[in-house]
Symmetry: none
Subunit: 419 residues, 2 copies
Amino acid sequence: MQRNITAEILSIGDELLYGQIQDTNSHWISQQLDGIGVKVIRRTTVGDERKSILAAFAASASVADIILMTGGLGPTRDDLTKPLLAEYFQSDLVLVPEALEAIQGFFNKRGRELTSTNRQQAYLPEKCTYVHNPVGTAPGMWFEKDGKVWMSMPGVPHEMRYLMENFVIPKIKDIFPLPIIYHKMIKTVGIGESWLSDMISDWESSLPSHIKLAYLPSLGEVRLRLTATGNDQGTLANDVEKQVEKLLPLISKYVYGYNQDTLATVIGQLLNQRKKKLALAESCSGGYIAHLITGVAGSSDYFNGAIVPYHNTFKENVLGVRQHTLINHGAVSEETVIEMATKVREKFQADFGLSSSGIAGPGGGTADKPVGLVWIACSSTDGCFTRKLQLTEDRMVNIQLTATAALNLLRQTILKETE
Amino acid sequence: MQRNITAEILSIGDELLYGQIQDTNSHWISQQLDGIGVKVIRRTTVGDERKSILAAFAASASVADIILMTGGLGPTRDDLTKPLLAEYFQSDLVLVPEALEAIQGFFNKRGRELTSTNRQQAYLPEKCTYVHNPVGTAPGMWFEKDGKVWMSMPGVPHEMRYLMENFVIPKIKDIFPLPIIYHKMIKTVGIGESWLSDMISDWESSLPSHIKLAYLPSLGEVRLRLTATGNDQGTLANDVEKQVEKLLPLISKYVYGYNQDTLATVIGQLLNQRKKKLALAESCSGGYIAHLITGVAGSSDYFNGAIVPYHNTFKENVLGVRQHTLINHGAVSEETVIEMATKVREKFQADFGLSSSGIAGPGGGTADKPVGLVWIACSSTDGCFTRKLQLTEDRMVNIQLTATAALNLLRQTILKETE
């Protein structure tokens, strides 16, 4: 088989080394390269320091075909990537009119003045190919030398992603002979990694050698990724789909989607197909479920609205939960989430009403209602379904797990799979 | 001045390079080392491959005094760190009775049988110091050679943290003469990095050589980090605070907090101090502002609740915006956000009502109301203040920028700094 095309990911910035920013870029870039069959062989992070950056350039060139850099492109003094690339490629910094135009446009659009510092960003190494960055002011820079390619991108995640998706990935696919890879992601929710692996272990051991399985757990979800490597896309797709057919019966009730699907996008599709509307009453999840739903483009087609009655008074006044219920059962109770779901469904004239109430923590726990206790409910024409959750001590983790469990309860209710 | 004590952080594992697991360990270790004045000069991630790992060992030894490794210590065949450390330090693997005892204890405690694979974990390079790991089965390994120290730790975050806190950090402080480091982060909002740098360039050039400045931009915010290095904590704190005093007058209206502060925590403090309550009416931000507010522990003390009237019908029915306003001015208008903010403030009996309405995109834009157009308003006893924003084409970015701008408008309203 042909040799691997290799890549090094280079992250530049003191803020990374000092632990002030978590480097999510390298992780994301790794996933993208893996997805197109490029083998990431190393990731290196260095600070804003001439010697280390130049050493990293040389080290990368010695091991990888593709060198992808992020960071150090800001207009300020501590940003060294651009001048050092110019030095490394023995190239002068010259004004690139297109770049200046783009930066000017970026500022005009926002009705802001272009400063001399911003103008500097239009000066690029003569030997690089200018790559337009419409979502920021730092241009991308593409270099080719000795059969290796280099790309320098801003460290701002959405700018880096734009350049990767619209320029780098297509360009790499175009230049390098990459093996044919077929990925299929099976998305599961509501079951832990070890239980899942026990349920599918026979199937897993029967996988052909050209298909690999990876478990990718995240909060409340486990993604199963099948990766087939070979020479023909059609054959690989076929091989993988055959395996998925065998897998599904084993775990069908936990599978909510594939590949780019998220619980929020899948729910959007289910509601649109049925022309149904959704409303939310969020207490402990505090608006996070609404954020996940409205993060999906077009969600206004099926999402009517939400109420976050954070203080109990307003569970009563604004949402209409009966005082009697709150007093006799408390805000964190099955009775309360049922009324929350039902009332919000009425108020927003929706087909489904989803609610949450719990103790997110770290404070507020009691002996009978400890931190991490959460009730969720989904009200529909088929009735109201509830779940009791006992989560963690961590507030943010509890908010996320509540949202995942609630969205899954909604999904099951729409599909009438609540048992 | 004494030279820096330097460290390299080495993460080992294919799952990192393939983007299957986000490497949070390096980030956490960076923070710990930074906190004790060790200069992290590089972070490297390599896969489970003999050649790359040995090369990484040699490269680390050539640049750092301290080499901290995580990963590759599992009992399975693809875990190479231990055998390769033995090879690198020309040392045989020998059974360490204490290690075996610890592993046995770990399994007994869980009523599980010790497998031969697990027994292997008790074999360690003869030249290393065995480091007890009570929270897992992979022991830590400490090496000292040519004035450099090496520590190998499991990749499981809580195991790594235990070993760092209970062994590595104290040991490093004990062995190396560490400088004193003092950090101060100044958090700004509502101004871009380049404008900021223009406003403070004179101050920046006048900084003493032992104080360094870094710009850390993120969506809608820029953090300024001052780092002072020396021998006395008190003196450094003093030096830095003096500089901050000089800096503040130049950018006071943009500074919202320091160090760990976020807009949401600062707003929480401002509201608590004044015993004031907050309510939200979110359209285009879709619950994200509520999520940021409720992400703060104790937010129930000052956050009464939110309404997300996503569909226009409910801006009227649930929130009480006048039909007349929606028809004559549209949902995305100054008039509408003013009514949203005022109505939600009334409904939730709050002192401040904050609202947003805009076109998040990618669809829904028109000639006079393009994607990225957002109106925000903050209603208070002093009146209602509004801002018009023209943001980006990216839905998620628009949601985040809207939240940041709205929280800042709220902060200014509370402080009566709205001009």
